[in-house]
Each structure stands twice: as C-alpha cells, then as structure tokens.
C-alpha cells in the first residue's frame, strides 16, 4: 500500500460515513430514527438488504471458497428467492399493517407480552454474542496481510460504524449502505477485469474455463441425493430456503431494512430485487475464485497464502523442513504448469486419446503439488502451533496486493471495510432498536417523549457497538470462533422461526402455548446438541419442528384460547 492507496481508502470510507451523518442530521422522533422518513425506495431497500447480508468475510472468503471447492457453494442460495417470495406475501404486509418497529412487536400483537419479550431476548442473545464477529473476521485477515495492529483495526472500524449509526439511525444505515455497496461492486468488478487481463496474458479465456472445468471448479449444480455431500441442489433449495426464511423474515437486522420502505410496493420490490440478484452475485464472486485458481496454475502461488504466518514459521524452522518444502513446491508447480500446457495443446489437436492422457497427467501433477501444500500446512502448525492451517481466506487478498495497481489496492481494501461497516451498522441498529422498543420502552419507561427514546436508542447502539468491539478484541481467545457463532445461530434460529410461523399460519395456537413450547423446544435443542452427532445446520429444522408440534400439544391441553388471552394478545 502506498500513499495513493491510503488516500483512496480513507477518502472512500470517511466520505460515505460523513454523508450518512449529514443526510440524516437532526432526526429527533422515534419513528424517523428507527424507520427513516418513510421515503425509502426499492433500490435503496434492495441494496440495503443485500449489504446487510454480505459482510466483509463474504468478499474475502468466498473467492477463496471458489478457489478451493469451485462453484458448488452457489447452491446454498437456491432457497433464497422462494423464502423472499414467502416473506413478501405473508410477513411483510402484516409487519407494515401493524406499523411495528421490530419483528418481535408483531409477536406481542399476535400472542402476548411474554412471547414478544422471549423473541426479542433470543434475538439479542444470539445477535449480541455474534456482534464482534463481523468486525473481527475481516480485521484478522487485513491486519495480518497489511501489518496493521489488530486491536487498532478493530477499534477504528468499530468507532466509525458506531459514529454514523448513532448519529443517523436507520436512514443513515440504508443510505450509506447504498454507496458502500456501490464501492463494493466497483472494486470487485475492477478486480475481476484485472484478473481477466492477467489471465489472458497466459491463456485464452475459453482455455481458462477448460482448465477450471478440468479441475472440477465449475461444478455449479449437483442433483445428487447423497446426504453426505455438503452442497447439492436439494440441500440448497430446502435447507437454504429454511435458513433464508429465518434470517430475512425474523432477524431484526434484516426486517428493519425492508419495513422502512415508502410503501408496501417499495419494500416488496426491494426483496424481489434480492430474489433475482443474490444468486448471480454469489456466482460471480465464486467464479472470481475459480478463475484465480486457473491464474495460479500459470503464475506461481506461495506455498501458503497467509505469508505472514509462513514467514513466522520460517523463523522457527531450525531443521530447514519448511524451506525444503518450499523448494519442492516450486519444482512441482513448474511440472504442473508444463503438464497443463501439454493438455491444452492436445485439446486443440485432433488426437482424443492424447487429450485424455495429458489431462490425467495434469491431474496427477496437481495432486502432487497439493500433497506438498498439505505437508507444508502440517509443518507450519508443527513450527507454530497457534497458526491456522487454512489459508483460503488469504487467496484473494494475496492476489490484490501482488497484482492490482496502486489506487485499486486502496479501493479493494475500502471494499472490505465498506462491507464490514455496512453489515455491522445494520446489526447495531437492530440491536439498539430491539433493546429500546421491546425491552426499555416496555419494561422500564413506558410513556416518555419520542426524544427520550431516540436518546435511549442511541445509548443502546453505543452499548452494543462497544460490546462488539470488546468481543472482537478478545475473540482470539475462543477456539474456532466463526463456527461457534454459526452453531449458536442454528441453535436459536429454529425456535424463533417456529414462533413466527405459528403466528402467521396456525391461528388456533395462543400465546401461552407457544411461549412454553418455545422454552421447552429450546431446552430440547440444547440437550440434543450435546447428545447427537449431526451437522449443526439440522438444528434449524429440528428446533422449528419441535416447537410447532409441542405448541400444538400444549394448545390441545389448554383448550381453546381464552377471551382474556385473546384480548391480551391484541393489547
């Protein structure tokens, strides 16, 4: 990074944040602070929903995922269009009709106060605990490769996001996200173009696709019914729809984005924009990764993409094992490149047998090279036991720093910061709103002026922002952090979704039945999680199904909803 890069980085980040504060200055009543002035149109809603979901790790890690495993991960998003249609048809009109600030207010209106508080508490617990990850995950990568202090990176990005979220509220989040996403798209497109230009100096684009396909990086759709396969059409369609329904329909960080629309039409079109654009967006990020794989078949990659960790391990390499592996890897790469070029030559020739033979030789050469990489990772962990063996998060950033021109490097680093700020702002905004509307206004101070609640919401946003920074600063003390947070989400999401599905579709179940069913189901999920050895993703479905069945049983035992409960639920 040189001075130009830093100017581009700081100029981009600060100008968007200052714009967010200026655009929404003087917001004093609760409605406009939490939902904006009600003039948000569908492009802003659509981009805001997209930016909230796409955190920095999406843009850092997904190309690495494409590099390692190809395009198959795109299937995870196959359920999203259907989930967004369900939300648009059933969830959204009711949220808007009831003029709620938070999704959990709806639970209060449909059921009762205790169910609303339970929903809000589950959200705050889950999202609050995970709050630090959105800052920590990209900060650890960026600070490593840029040689910045990790704590300074976390604190700076945390304070910037707190400043404009607190100052401008929901409207500031939506309007800054629009420009942040603009920076993200521009940066990713620029990186894609540079990659294509660099690639074409080695081979033609059709040949690049042949190589990617030959190494199984372009297997985007797999209709296999094998449950052991991680990404298939069916798991993406069904599991993905379930997850998207929970996330977009009941998570306040998303609900707050689309209930602020100027009308039902604007909110619906914002959601449908995501239904149409989500899959191609993920596809292009994964394709970038698959083409990076091809690029690194002709341009020698480092043996381990986290070069800072590799250099630290080299310093401990007293017996020279790492250096020897480096040399072996370099030699294997030369052999592999030659084997791939022979294969491409054969492909353009007229001898199909030679093509099969040379392709097999290229695959063998690739396997040999990958075996050396695997050996190098083991040796790295032996030399520095704290080092992580996975380096896929570092693939894209390594390409950026090595191959992009100055100025563009600053823009791409701005992309990662922008996506951190965009998703973090929406999370903080949702945590502050839920704490104010569902807890503080309901339990502590019921009839205060709007200005008081706006002030309270600002304090709660600062509180959650500081929690996020604090958690991120100490996050490295927790083993396998990102997976831990995903497990946490899966454990809670199923029950929360069941509460909303019952509220929308099962009229005969009342507040008392669903409240106790949610508690029992949540406890059972905790027990099952400790007993069963299944993938944590299944707990989304198990929790939801259990909660709905138990609620039906409880309601049958309680008899029909009493008039008292009915009136309470409408209070």
């Amino acid at each position: 990074m040189n001075l130009l890069d830093y100017l581009v980085l700081l100029g981009t980040i600060l100008s968007i944040a200052v714009y967010g504060v200026w655009r929404t200055r003087g917001r004093r009543d609760l409605n406009t602070y939490l939902k904006g002035v009600g003039d948000t149109n569908w492009p802003v809603i659509g981009l805001s929903v997209m930016a909230t979901q796409a955190s920095a790790i999406t843009f850092l890690s997904t190309p690495g995922q494409g590099y390692e495993d190809g395009l198959g991960f795109v299937q995870n998003y196959f359920g999203a269009p259907f989930a967004l249609i369900i939300i648009s048809v059933f969830f959204l009109p009711i949220y808007r009709r009831l003029k709620v600030y938070t999704a959990y207010e709806f639970l209060g209106q449909r059921f009762d106060t205790k169910t609303r508080l339970l929903g809000a508490a589950l959200f705050l617990l889950q999202r609050g605990l995970g709050a630090g990850i959105t800052i920590y995950a990209p900060a650890i990568v960026l600070s490593t490769v840029m040689n910045w202090r990790l704590d300074a990176t976390i604190i700076c990005s945390g304070l910037v996001v707190i400043a404009y979220t607190v100052a401008g509220g929901s409207d500031a989040v939506s309007h800054t996200q629009k420009y942040q996403l603009g920076v993200i798209f521009a940066g990713m497109a620029a990186a894609f173009v540079v990659l294509l230009v660099r690639l074409q100096s080695q081979i033609t684009l059709p040949d690049a696709f042949v190589v990617a396909g030959g190494f199984n990086k372009l297997e985007a759709v797999d209709f296999s019914l094998n449950p052991d396969k991680r990404y298939t059409f069916w798991s993406g369609l069904l599991g993905g729809m379930f997850l998207a329904l929970s996330y977009f329909g009941t998570d306040q960080s998303q609900v707050q984005r689309y209930i602020s629309g100027a009308s039902l039409r604007e909110s619906r079109l914002g959601l449908m924009f995501n239904g149409v654009c989500k899959i191609p967006m993920q596809f292009f990020i994964l394709l970038l990764g698959a083409l990076l794989f091809v690029f690194y078949q002709f341009d020698k990659p480092p043996v381990f993409f986290n070069e800072t960790a590799w250099k630290a391990a080299l310093a401990q390499d007293s017996d020279g094992q790492l250096r020897s592996l480096e040399k072996k890897f370099d030699a294997s790469h030369i052999e592999k490149e030659a084997a791939i070029r022979r294969w491409l030559e054969a492909k353009h020739g007229t001898n199909p047998e030679l093509e099969v033979k040379t392709r097999a030789a290229a695959l063998v050469a690739h396997k040999r090279s990958e075996d050396i990489r695997a050996e190098a990772k083991k040796a790295l962990q032996k030399a520095t036991p704290d080092a992580k063996a996975s380096d896929s998060d570092y693939v894209f950033i390594t390409f950026i720093l090595r191959h992009l021109p100055h100025g563009l490097i600053g823009l791409l680093i701005a992309v990662f910061f922008s996506s951190t700020l965009a998703s973090k702002a929406a999370e903080l905004n949702a945590l502050g709103s839920t704490t104010t509307v569902d807890l503080y206004r309901h339990l502590v101070k019921r009839d205060a002026e709007d200005a008081h609640y706006v002030k309270a919401s600002r304090y709660f946003t600062i509180f959650w922002g500081l929690v996020a920074i604090g958690f991120a600063l100490f996050a490295n003390m927790v083993e396998n952090l990102i997976e831990a947070v995903n497990i946490l989400g899966s454990i809670f999401y199923g029950v929360v979704l069941a509460m909303f599905l019952v509220a929308f579709f099962v009229r005969r179940i009342g507040g008392t039945a669903i409240f106790w069913a949610a508690i029992v189901a949540q406890l059972l999920v905790f027990v099952l999680y400790n007993v069963l050895k299944i993938s944590y993703l299944w707990y989304n479905i198990i929790g939801c199904a259990m909660c709905m069945v138990i609620a039906l049983i409880f309601q049958a035992m309680l008899g029909q909803n009493s008039p008292k409960e009915e009136s309470d639920s409408l209070r």
Binding site: P81, A220, F233, R265, R268, L269, A503, G510, E566, L570
Partner: protein
Amino acid sequence: MNFDPHSPKVDVPPTPEDDGTSLPLLPTWSSVYRFVVIVFLIYVLLLTILSRVFA
C-alpha cells in the same frame, strides 16, 4: 385470538396498500413472483449447462 394474515382484523386501521406493482410488463404481484421463479429456473438451467459443458 382471531387473527388471519389475509384480512385486516387486528385493531389497526387497514392501510390502502398499493396492490399494483406499477411495472409495465408485470402489473400484478403474482406475475412478479412468477418472474422471480422463472429467473431462478433460468439460473439453474444456465449453471447446469456450465457444469456439463466443462465437466
């Protein structure tokens, strides 16, 4: 509890929510949803072709 997601029975006034989409080629919401599903099917078809061609 008498709650029906399809009718405005809760104690809030029904809002004259815009039923039309104001989109020239997709005038109703059901046509918008059909469009999203058709686009999804086209994506799956194109991705399947990509997978097969370069397998």
